[in-house]
């Protein structure tokens, strides 16, 4: 099958501190992928390296047929790979509408700006109500909706969400999970990082456990995983059968 994203033996980190050690995985066209694992084990670092915010120390990243390791974030966005980072504060002193339109700054996204805006509003009707409100005045859940909306405005061929429900109240979290499901139903391939493995199981085709900066296990979402097994993966030695 044609691969959309191929990460091969990637290593990266901050300054001289290595966080990601030798991660390899790939994503087939039309597939959705979930990443999970304990905090501080390299999930966000991996995503930053993929989107060009951090350098790739070694290994390679290929997206839609072109090599994007160490390309500029702008070039990666133009290629259609869009990251919605964890806890994105966005642009506090801009309105929701302005912020969404900035999401279509890339040349590749300009032509589709109107239809993508409509899509974002249909998935997040609340953003349309808040169109003229400044981002700083939004609740955490609404801000996360804007962040995903900005990602959708970039006309993504692959949308990567880093812990989209982090720190949200349960009711808002459910609402957001439904919306992320709707994004996927609109045919946007997703890579989602989440602590909530049950949510991931309902959303993605395949799950990868990231531990100590490596992809230690990979399994299909079709085979259900028990609670005990997940606990063991988080707290055990990561080598359960």
């Amino acid at each position: 099958m044609q691969k959309l994203l191929e990460v091969d033996k990637l290593a990266s980190g901050y300054g001289r501190i290595q966080i990601v050690r030798d991660i390899s995985f790939s994503l087939a066209t039309g597939e959705c992928l979930g990443l999970f694992g304990p905090n501080g084990h390299g999930k966000s670092t991996l995503l930053k390296a993929i989107s060009g915010l951090l350098p790739c120390w070694s290994g390679s990243i290929r997206f839609a047929g072109q090599t994007i390791s160490n390309a500029s974030p702008r070039k990666i966005v133009e290629a259609g790979l869009i990251l919605v980072p964890q806890g994105n504060q966005l642009f506090p002193e801009m309105t929701v509408g302005e912020t969404l339109r900035l999401g279509a700054f890339a040349n590749a996204a300009r032509a589709e700006e109107a239809s993508n805006l409509e899509r974002a509003y249909s998935i997040f009707p609340r953003l349309k109500e808040r169109d003229r409100q400044q981002v700083w005045s939004l609740s955490g859940g609404e801000r996360q909706m804007v962040a995903i909306g900005v990602g959708l405005m970039g006309n993504p061929k692959l949308l990567i969400l880093d812990e989209p429900t982090l720190g949200l109240a349960p009711r808002i979290k459910d609402e957001l999970c439904d919306a992320i499901g709707a994004v996927s139903k609109h045919g946007v391939p997703l890579v989602v990082v989440e602590q909530d493995v049950e949510f991931l199981l309902g959303l993605v085709d395949r799950l990868i456990l990231i531990d100590h900066g490596s992809a230690v296990r990979e399994f299909s979402a079709a085979n259900s995983i028990g609670h005990d097994e997940i606990m063991d993966m988080y707290f055990g030695d990561g080598k359960v059968a």
């Binding site: 060009g52 915010l53 966005v77 980072p85 966005l90 900035l102 890339a106």
Partner: protein, 293 residues
């Protein structure tokens, strides 16, 4: 104090405020987008006047003031891009960028000042005014040049504001100032916009130089004092915004005019700093900064 005196103070305050606003906007633009203070800004003012003089004056090329202004603004925009590429870009990834930029921009200012002194000499020069003659309004007289500044400066400031608020590039510049990482992830060409903000700031500084050159004698160090004033204005108004410094510029201009009339030019500078310190003690984010929680 007669009504005439009050009016006179008001007018000279607005003239000063207009010049400070043009300078402070450029400083604030670079400050908000790149997070650095550009000490070469004062030299952009000086060079604006000298470029215009070289093209316009009879002792230079003698092509007239309009050509001088056009050349000067264009040359300053190019110089702004160059300054960003040479003084800032090589150090962007360094943790101590703020400190390095202080040194590189100060070095550039010294270099450019002495280059101006060497190539144009120390003898004071004067640039032709924007408009000849005097006009009288409400019983007071002021030069047509100053009247032109009072009218043109707000128009330029308004255009800058429109550019920042209404165009895609302008809103991208504001986005970088508010959250650089999010701007990068939206595909905004951050490096290119750094150059743009430097170019825009330098052009505005060049215009200030042209305006000043028609009021005072030009010298290679003519930009230093206005830059210090602009720094006061930017800090006083709140560094995190563009509109704060504009409003603060007019407040400072009027305050300076009042001080010059009441306590004399010698103590005015000190009085301005006292006011700035007092304001910062009460409002650490500046007079117009940090209005939201």
């Amino acid at each position: 104090m007669t009504a005439e005196t009050v009016l006179y103070i008001l007018v000279s305050g607005v003239v000063l405020g207009s010049l400070y606003a043009l300078m402070a906007v450029g400083l604030a633009l670079v400050w908000t987008t790149l997070g650095i203070f550009n000490f070469a800004h004062g030299m952009f003012i000086t060079l604006g006047a000298y470029f215009a003089w070289t093209v316009a004056d009879g002792n230079g090329l003698g092509w007239g003031l309009a050509a001088g202004i056009a050349f000067s603004v264009a040359a300053l925009a190019a110089l702004g891009c160059l300054a960003e590429a040479v003084l800032v870009r090589p150090f962007l990834k360094r943790d101590n960028l703020v400190l390095v930029a202080v040194i590189t921009t100060l070095a550039a200012a010294t270099f450019l000042e002495n280059a101006t002194l060497l190539s144009r000499g120390g003898r004071s020069k004067q640039l032709a005014p924007l408009a000849e003659g005097n006009i009288s309004m409400f019983g007071i007289g002021l030069s047509a040049h100053e009247a032109a500044i009072v009218v043109i400066a707000p128009l330029i400031l308004y255009s800058v504001w429109l550019f920042l608020q209404r165009t895609r590039t302008g809103s991208a510049l504001r986005a970088i100032a508010q959250n650089q990482e999010a701007a990068l992830l939206a595909g905004i060409p951050v490096a290119r916009l750094y150059a743009l903000s430097f170019a825009l700031a330098a052009s505005l500084a060049g215009l200030v130089g042209i305006f000043l050159g028609g009021i005072k004698f030009m010298s290679p160090s003519m930009g230093t004092d206005p830059m210090v004033k602009a720094l006061v204005v930017v800090i006083f108004g709140g560094i995190a915004s563009i509109s704060g410094p504009i409003r603060a510029a007019y407040v400072i201009g009027l305050l300076e005019a009042v001080c010059i009339y009441s306590i004399g030019i010698y103590w005015t500078q000190a009085a301005l700093f006292v006011v700035m310190i007092a304001v910062l003690m009460i409002r650490p984010t500046g007079l117009f900064g940090g209005q939201r929680a």
